[in-house]
């Protein structure tokens, strides 16, 4: 710690005069170390310190997941992307069922372990491109970019089942089983909606999942899923000879008809 104080550094100390004690103690506590070969007080050292602070301010202290701040900037970016690219994106909100009971029965330390365990489970369930965040006490949010509506229910169900199947070891050798309720909504593609409205729709579904008995998933499905495979088959029947000037492979999109 003493070696890292800028006032103790010699030479071109860009950090002279800055009060960094509080920042450094925060970073040290979070396990931050000075990169090798970087002189304390130098610009690279300051950059590393700032990077460390940014990382720290985007993480949830208890679970290591993205925190609410990080979630909010990620969802705003996703709304923008969906509007430009038209790709479907799913937002899931997961809430631990009867969490208050865990706290009341087993104490807050056990409650923390449960939250950490569910957090790890959610992180294990998703793809690297998905973002998992802890957005409230026992509430988590998952942003799934490029998630086709047909897969939404499957993804949400898989997460719910994984959480339910995982026993949480709490202090005293006890095992707890917890469940989550999940609500989800798709961002309207090609539309620049707002993060607040998207979250609100997912939240309404979470409320539905809770009121229908918990440990279940409810999704707000976009109306575009109303076209069945049978309808598509008939739609493209007779049109399978696609235009030769179109790039090859476009014909693959058309289901082969069996008629």
């Amino acid at each position: 710690m003493a070696g890292a104080t800028p006032t103790g550094a010699t030479g071109a100390t860009d950090a002279v005069g800055l009060r960094l004690d509080a920042a450094l103690s925060l970073l040290m506590q979070a396990g931050w170390t000075v990169p090798d070969g970087v002189a304390p007080g130098s610009n690279p050292w300051l950059q590393s310190l700032i990077d460390g602070l940014c990382e720290l301010s985007s993480r949830d202290a208890l679970t290591g997941l993205n925190n609410r701040r990080q979630f909010e900037s990620a969802i705003a970016r996703e709304v923008d992307r969906v509007a430009r690219i038209g790709e479907p994106a799913l937002l899931l909100l997961a809430d631990i069922d009867h969490f208050k009971k865990v706290n009341d029965t087993h104490g807050h330390a056990a409650g923390d372990v449960v939250i950490q365990s569910v957090a790890a489970c959610l992180q294990d369930c998703v793809r690297p491109m998905d973002l998992v965040a802890r957005v409230g006490g026992e509430e988590f949010a998952i942003i799934l970019p490029n998630c086709p509506p047909a897969f939404g229910q499957t993804v949400a169900e898989r997460i719910r089942q994984k959480v339910a199947a995982r026993a949480v070891a709490i202090i005293g050798g006890q095992q707890l089983n917890v469940t989550v309720s999940i609500g989800g909504a798709f961002a309207p593609p090609w539309v620049r909606s707002s993060a607040a409205l998207w979250s609100e729709r997912a939240d309404q579904q979470l409320y539905r999942a809770k009121s229908e008995g918990r440990n279940r998933t409810c999704l707000d499905m976009p109306p575009l899923t109303v076209v069945s495979a049978e309808e598509k088959g008939m739609l493209f029947a007779g049109l399978t000879q696609s235009d030769p000037t179109e790039p090859s492979g476009s014909g693959d999109l058309m289901p082969k008809t069996t008629e």
Partner: protein, 270 residues
């Protein structure tokens, strides 16, 4: 423009104002050239002697301004927020028609609140007596704003391309419009056609699937009227890139002739 701005109650009541024919243009899928088509159809109808307004109801992701290369200071957004009068937002467009642009400040209106509904409907009623035709350029997708914008119009043109995803979305749109708005007649325009005749084939195909799977709540089956196809040619790319109307830049092109035919057929069905 100026006549519109000064419209005091006329002292001598003449015959009741004739209301515009209202046509919503929608597509389901984005990127099918819907806005490009709307602007050029407006230009074609204007050349046929009609007074046309294009209402940009693509509140989510408006781009009529981009197509027309118009960057007005006053948009629908200002009218919604009370910063400007409706008359100030009605602008002359290059093709001789008028436009009412959404403006990109309408982010918060991309979902339908009662307030947006009232605002849209108020504006719509106010412009109806002043034009022969009002084209409503809706957003992509089948969001509630799009459905509401379509519901304001008497007639609907669905724009599709021969691409399977576009056909599927056009079909989904027709299905939703039948279920929610009991639409019995819909117009179809096929854009980006690379082989003459494909447009009608696609319309027939859609009609067959509609007859098999789609029904209005009252039991009738929606009927698709083929308005025409627009060729995918270099002139379109050129006009888009130069941000000019195809009808002005390349009026003799196959694509422009396609738009003229659509305008003629639309008038014949009026």
């Amino acid at each position: 423009m100026m006549e519109l701005m000064t419209a005091p109650a006329s002292p001598v009541p003449s015959s009741p104002p004739r209301l515009a024919r209202t046509v919503a243009i929608t597509s389901g899928k984005g990127g099918v050239g819907k806005t490009f088509f709307s602007a050029n159809l407006a230009a074609a109808l204007t050349r046929q002697g009609l007074k046309v307004l294009v209402l940009d109801a693509d509140l989510g992701l408006a781009n009529l301004d981009v197509v027309l290369n118009l960057y007005p200071k006053i948009t629908l957004h200002d009218v919604f927020t009370g910063k400007a009068e409706l008359e100030e937002a009605i602008l002359p467009a290059p093709g001789g028609f008028s436009v009412l642009l959404a403006g990109s400040g309408l982010v918060e209106y991309s979902r339908l609140t009662p307030e947006v509904r009232d605002q849209l409907s108020r504006i719509f009623e106010a412009v109806k007596p002043r034009f022969d035709v009002i084209l409503i350029d809706t957003g992509a997708g089948i969001s509630d704003v799009v459905l509401y914008a379509v519901s304001m119009a008497h007639e609907v043109i669905v724009v599709a391309t021969p691409e399977p995803t576009s056909m599927t979305d056009a079909y989904a749109t027709i299905k939703v419009l039948a279920a929610q708005q009991s639409r019995e007649n819909l117009h179809l325009v096929v854009n980006q056609v690379s082989r003459a005749g494909d447009g009608r084939a696609i319309c027939n195909q859609l009609q067959q699937v509609v007859e098999r799977f789609v029904q209005n709540p009252n039991g009738t089956v929606p009927k698709l009227y083929f308005l025409g196809e627009i060729a995918q040619d270099q002139s379109v790319r050129d006009a888009v890139q130069r941000r000019q109307l195809l009808m002005e830049l390349h009026p003799g092109s196959a694509a422009a002739q396609g738009v003229v035919q659509v305008a003629t057929r639309l008038q014949a069905r009026g």
